[in-house]
């Protein structure tokens, strides 16, 4: 195509988005969100973990704890910066990709985002102080300067997930001629999906932090670096993850029961259930075609028991909504099974450590424990990704459940797929660079106990 032809194609008046552009917009949002969520989890969980080891270091004067604190702080410096910019892109994309949603509903979900903005400020400001003024402040003041980072991180997660929960349970407004009126920002923010979603995600963020950090040290232990520093670096974060694993299973059950009541279509997709029925089985794995789930392992009446504690409980299937209102079932069902499967894997691994610790105050002797613990770091991340696939794909075809279809929200400008390709390229480069830098940081010599500024 000649440059002029390209220009005239791009300059085309915007019509309804083509299916290719719609798909591109969804994939771009999924990619940016899926990428950011990893760093966001660490942003929520890392400050608490870091402050815990720093607190122990300050209280006991222990050098290993202080070394952990210094090294984690250095990693956080990188992770937070990349998280800050990858998060910014999301706020751009809300408008670049979904202007139809923001045009009508931007004001309804604006308040939690405004609060998130405040939390983000607090996080960035105190991070600057915490990282750069370590040796300019007394140990106590320095420790205290990190507390707002931890609080702001958890608050941010709450506000952002509350806004996402609104997309699942849109509340707090009336519609007149396609424009919202009588907005109640509080009803929007504290919608029925807010409690299950925010609790589930915040616990998940701490689990990812615990297992991912422990995973790094599990690799080091496997390579024979079995000194106290590496053992502490493994045990402290792993304990965090281990304590939360059983709690998360309970929270996850609560979130699923919420779906059964408020978004039964999403639960039906997650479970691959087509026919509304009592004695609904719990189906593990399998694949969906011709409007039915095939090759799944079924636990008889399992789903009915989980939803209503009785085999007679009637569980709503996908047959209750016309096929144009159904989400794609395969990714939601397999995503759900992946998330739950990993949840139980993490629970068993945690129990293994707990049992050994109770019996002989030590890590399990089998090298398989550390191998699996190293895998757990990655698995926890995969579980979060799978969970978000369930939430986001499971809500389709709606962007605001029951109120606005995703296709109504997408930017009608042509050529979104070209933007998507560029964004993919950028994220590939960003991923390679991030992994390179983080690996480089784990290999370089440990940070000295004195901050670099004071060496001069």
């Amino acid at each position: 195509m000649s440059p002029d032809a390209v220009m005239s194609t791009l300059a085309l008046a915007a019509g309804p988005a083509s299916p290719a552009d719609m798909l591109a917009a969804r994939m771009q949002m999924g990619l940016s969100l899926g990428w950011h969520i990893i760093l966001a989890c660490l942003g929520v969980g890392m400050p608490g973990l870091l402050l815990f080891v720093e607190w122990r270091a300050v209280r006991t004067g222990d050098a290993d704890h202080m070394l952990l604190a210094r090294r984690w702080a250095k990693a956080i410096g990188v992770l937070f910066a990349v998280g800050a910019v990858s998060g910014t892109i999301l706020s751009f994309e809300m408008g670049l990709l979904w202007p139809g949603l923001m045009d009508v509903y931007g004001q309804v979900i604006g308040v939690p985002f405004a609060m998130e903005g405040v939390a983000f400020f607090i996080e960035a400001i105190f991070l600057g102080i915490y990282l750069y003024a370590w040796d300019r402040l007394s140990p106590r003041t320095h420790l205290l300067s990190g507390v707002p980072i931890a609080i702001a991180g958890v608050s941010s997660a709450f506000f952002v997930v509350a806004a996402n929960a609104w997309m699942n349970q849109p509340r707090g407004f009336d519609l007149e001629n396609g424009r919202v009126t009588r907005v109640d920002p509080w009803a929007a923010m504290f919608n029925p999906a807010t409690p299950p979603q925010t609790i589930h995600m915040i616990v998940a963020a701490f689990m990812v932090t615990g297992f991912a950090t422990a995973g790094v040290y599990a690799v080091a232990l496997l390579r024979g670096r079995r000194d106290r520093y590496h053992r502490l670096g493994f045990l402290i974060p792993f304990t965090l993850g281990a304590v939360l694993s059983p709690i998360q299973i309970v929270v996850g059950d609560y979130a699923a029961k919420f779906l059964a009541e408020y978004q039964p279509t999403k639960l039906a997709a997650a479970e691959g259930l087509f026919a509304t029925r009592s004695h609904a089985p719990l189906s593990l794995g399998g694949i969906v075609y011709d409007d039915a789930l095939h090759y799944a392992v079924e636990i008889p009446s399992g789903l009915s028991m989980l939803v209503g504690f009785s085999p007679a409980t009637v569980v709503q299937g996908l047959d209750r909504v016309p096929s144009r209102d159904r989400p794609p079932v395969n990714p939601v069902h397999l995503g759900f099974d992946t998330m739950v499967g990993i949840g139980f894997f993490l629970l068993l691994l945690s129990a293994w450590l707990a049992l050994n610790w109770w019996r002989r105050r030590d890590l399990p002797r089998s090298p398989w424990f550390l191998r699996l613990a190293a895998v757990a770091g990655v698995a926890a991340v995969v579980a979060v990704e799978a969970g978000w696939i369930v939430t986001e794909v499971g809500r389709q075809p709606w962007i605001a459940y029951g109120r606005m279809r995703t296709v109504e929200a997408v930017n009608p400008a042509p050529g979104l797929w070209a933007g998507f390709l560029i964004v993919v390229l950028v994220y590939v480069v960003l991923t390679v660079a991030t992994v390179y830098v983080l690996r480089h940081m784990t290999r370089t010599t440990p940070v000295p106990a004195v901050a670099p500024q004071e060496r001069a």
Partner: protein, 329 residues
Amino acid sequence: MDAAQILLVVMWVGITLYALLGGADFGGGVWDLLAGREHTNRKLIEHAIGPVWEANHVWLIFVLVVLWTGFPPVFAAVMSTLYIPLTLAALGIIFRGSAFVFRKASTEWWSRRLFGAAFAISSLLTPFFLGTVAGAIASGRVPPGLAAGDLVASWVNPTSMLGGVLAVGVCAYLAAVYLCDDAVRAGLDPEGFRRRAIGTGVVVGVVALAGIAVLRWDAPALFAGLTHRALPAVVASAVMGLASLGLLWARGYVLVRVTAVLAVTAVMWGWPLAQYPVMLPPAFTYRQAAAGPEVLVVTLIVLGAGALLVLPAIGWLLAVQRRLPYDSG
């Protein structure tokens, strides 16, 4: 003043602070690009930006959120019509931030070079694209509605190019002015940045003057506003700009920070003054765009409470940054 007007002012304060603080961080990157073999300059820039750039960057998110909460149709129109330059700016933001910390965390020369180049080039491109967005809106090329404007001509036009060049110039100018005083406090010779500040100051002034002619031809409504209602702001900016040049000449590095900030602030407030109450020229006003009164009031309360938390903290951060000893090693 009603709630919508107050929120409009609050948003513009946010944009101004983003330009004055975040803009200078981008300007630092521009000087990094042009530092050549002067590694001392590069080190000073890193020292000055390091603790604050993330906090400064949040002003941009603040502005986006206030815009979509308070004036959602304007947000939707701007983001959808200008999705090309805004996507490019967003990617520039990714590269600038991550490359900056990656360079800091790297030790090998080739990776430091690579990340340094990405940091510096994106520091130049990001303000340019954001400037083209300003030009697109100011010249009335972003109509209300979803992607209702021309996707290319809306930001590839004389006013947008002027906006892009001015944005880069202002960022570089502010950074050079700030870095003069930073150099003095670090015990370095500020002469290099003084020369750069005077040079960019003159260039930005000339471009702004030439820009008046461009606006008269390409954006007559904006031109009329700037030469009538907003004339005092334009004149104030010119006076402060000249005063800054004088102060740079006389090496008054602390005072020139104030006058340079005032010069940029004046011109930034001239634009909305020129087109008020219109948000999307020629005719879409803030009243047509404003969210419901409940939303506006709750947002103002949240931001007010937030300011009580954030502003003292910013003060502490800036105090910490000023007192940080410069590591020449």
